[in-house]
Symmetry: C2
Subunit: 450 residues, 2 copies
């Protein structure tokens, strides 16, 4: 059983609601939009990601005979629903921001228009996919901005929340500017460059640290990156300089050393000196160990001689904000715009478009969220990507998306690049959208009466 | 491609190290142990979970032809490694604490003994599986302790980090004391009870809230739980009391109402009064909306008339501690105990056993971590579960594990049940283990020299 593709990876209420819709013949087009209500602490922008997996999911959605048989024996559902599910395929339309687009609260990044039960049934997984990759891409982009071109590698698989999280965090962080991942499956699945060094266990399994280094170099002559903090970092660095001539005689050069504990800036300085004095000025220093964008910034500000970084847990779990306040909300049913008015959770009704405006220097200036049929002079960010359940274009490569994301990050106003909370980017709600909300509210005025 | 079962869901360095080991004939038995270095903030204990998925992974591990062909074309590996991987199966032994066992820092909850390349290759996924479920079970247990018997349902799928996280969070939280999950696939896969109500979109899709309630009741006559905060909570509660006699005439009773926004305690009191005055004293109140163990405690302390809770994001992401400081470390190779001595990350060497001692009242008193061959009077917590790559017993059902976990949580000393950090539970390192560490260190003294 593959949880990534099962149609039963959904909340029970999606099925109970589908049963009621199906029973009442409520199968008119429904419009749902995915958006984020507010930015997590210290975030000044978000990076849209996960669309590709959403389109995969929608294209492939179906219930297997085994799943239907299981649903049947729960006795929670009527035969009519099971017959409906048996032939169900997603037949709707999707508009979305391209992955890697920067966006802000209340801006929909995806809209689904489909018969109500279809649009409802996909809710749980659509949120699950967009929420996670967007969260990770947004966190990773902060490290990429701080690193200013120095390579960062994703080392997060082991602390990712399960298999799919490890794989998709590699994708989302690469899209946002990381240089690659240690996760091999991300290489095979998405063509992401894979990187790796050695573990402490490799050194420990040898009686002698130098022998461990030598064995590793012989096995991976083109990728000799040696982990030097298993026992004593500077001692190991000196061993590397002693070993280097032996390896050189075999045509092998020491590409890098990795530091994984202690005061990384201090160790990097000492190790750099040892390597330089030992004739290894070409050997790079790679740092890892509980890094995040803040520690990266400290290390770079201190001018520590570190050439590249590995970032794991903090990015892959988005540790300071492990979820987004995201929502997938019904905005229109059967041509009638609607909105939720729960306390603190009210939404803007109807189908929407987001227009982006740029300043003279090419940086983002402000956005306007308006009704779908409004025509403004800015750049519209939502584009049709699926119609009648079929993709309208081939999937872009993650490498292409990554390049375009880098261009967009370069368009961020200076203030929004900060790691701390900056004054909010201006997102205006158009007169047309405000007017629509008032109209909807007038239509709802009866609900206060009894 | 199913990321949950692919052998390539691993860090690249596992493969590069395996190549060096294979090349050097370093295939003697290696001993790795998984443990947590320190408790996350505000946690006083951890709940071991994920063993079942680790054993599944180890039993099924193999490289497919497609994966081998991909590895080959990367040109990162030599033919010898690819031949080795082609027939590789896990042939090792596993000892572990039963899932649901309470444990503390420096106590191994799993030991793998296998030929070095095998034990190394499985590292990334073993950590990934144990880290996540243990983290979630430990968080969920806190809510279960606070709720004191009131049912809690997992609503976390949408904000879980991908597909597997959603599924396994349902499992881990059920094991730790939740009553069920909204995630349908968790019902099919693990036999976990599934629960569900309705979404705001269901109410919005109808022009009239009462009609929405009526349609839902007709579709799910045995499970009428109505969401009443879409527009105005108390108004909707009054509508429910007006609708109830109509439904009763059809033999349908209103099982519950769900509150999802605003001041939940205040709304619960008002709604309880409306329901009671309307003759619906049997109708239960379910609360949801950004709940965690702290908000649960506040609601219960305030004696809000809430009958059950749905907990999502905070539990499924372990939001206040979205990772554990966990490690899978080489403790012995070819009969030689070893330890890592990196700054702040030193480990205890060798194969270990954890003995638990209970106080007269049946509560946990203290633990002793000692060498594997030491014999103490306490209860040994690590038991053999796999030998020669085969499970030694059938998988326990999650329901059985859940019952035993509840018994163990009842054995927690009162102080450790607190939501805030309590004085640490006593975990002693035995003389035998300290002696072994000294011996290992003497053997390592040469590494300081050059």
């Amino acid at each position: 059983m593959n949880p990534s593709t099962s149609a039963l990876l959904t909340d029970l209420y999606e099925l109970t609601m589908a049963q009621a819709y199906q029973e009442q013949g409520m199968v008119e087009p429904a419009v749902f939009e995915f958006f984020v209500r507010k930015l997590p602490p210290c975030r000044n922008f978000l990076v849209a990601a996960g669309l590709e997996q959403v389109l995969d999911f929608l294209s492939g959605m179906h219930f297997t005979q085994k799943e239907l048989a299981w649903l049947d024996q729960t006795r929670l559902f009527k035969p009519g629903l099971l017959r409906y599910l048996e032939t169900l395929r997603f037949t709707g339309a999707v508009e979305a921001m391209e992955e890697g687009t920067l966006f802000f609260p209340h801006e929909p990044i995806l809209r689904i228009v489909a018969p109500l039960p279809e649009a409802q049934l996909v809710e749980s997984r659509v949120i699950n996919l967009l929420n996670f990759q967007t969260m990770v891409a947004s966190k990773a982009a902060r490290s990429a901005l701080v690193a200013g071109g120095k390579p960062i590698i994703d080392f997060g698989l082991r602390r990712a929340h399960g298999a799919e999280a490890g794989l998709l965090a590699a994708r989302a962080s690469y899209l946002a500017g990381f240089s690659g991942s240690a996760t091999v499956l991300a290489g095979m699945t998405y063509g992401i460059p894979v990187y790796g060094t050695m573990a402490h266990s490799f050194v420990q399994a040898h009686k002698d640290e130098v022998q461990a280094f030598e064995h590793f170099a012989q096995a991976q002559p083109n990728n000799v990156v040696l982990l030097i903090d298993t026992y004593d970092t500077e001692t190991a660095a000196r061993k590397v300089t002693s070993l280097a001539p032996v390896l050189r005689a075999k045509g092998i050069s020491v590409k890098g050393v990795r530091l994984d504990s202690g005061d990384l800036a201090d160790h990097a300085r000492r190790v750099r000196r040892i390597l330089d004095e030992g004739g290894l000025s070409h050997t790079q220093i790679i740092a890892s160990g509980n890094l995040d964008e803040y520690r990266l910034k400290d290390l770079l500000d201190s001018r520590a001689p570190i050439d590249s970084f590995a970032v794991g847990t903090a990015m892959t779990t988005s540790s300071d904000a492990p979820s987004l306040d995201s929502a997938y909300k019904l905005q229109e049913y059967a041509g009638r715009p609607c909105r939720k008015r729960s306390e603190g959770k009210a939404t803007w009704p109807g189908r929407k478009q987001v227009y982006r405006y740029y300043a003279g220097d090419g940086r983002l200036d402000h956005d306007v969220v308006t009704t779908h049929d409004d025509r403004l002079s800015g750049i519209p960010l939502l584009q049709a990507v699926m119609s009648d359940g079929r993709r309208l274009a081939a999937s872009p490569s993650v490498t292409d998306l990554r390049r375009r994301t880098a261009d967009r990050l370069a368009q961020l106003p200076e203030s929004l690049r900060a790691l701390e909370t900056a004054p909010a980017y201006p997102v205006q709600i158009s007169q047309a959208l405000q007017g629509l909300a008032e109209t909807v509210d007038r239509g709802l005025s009866h609900v206060k009466e009894i």
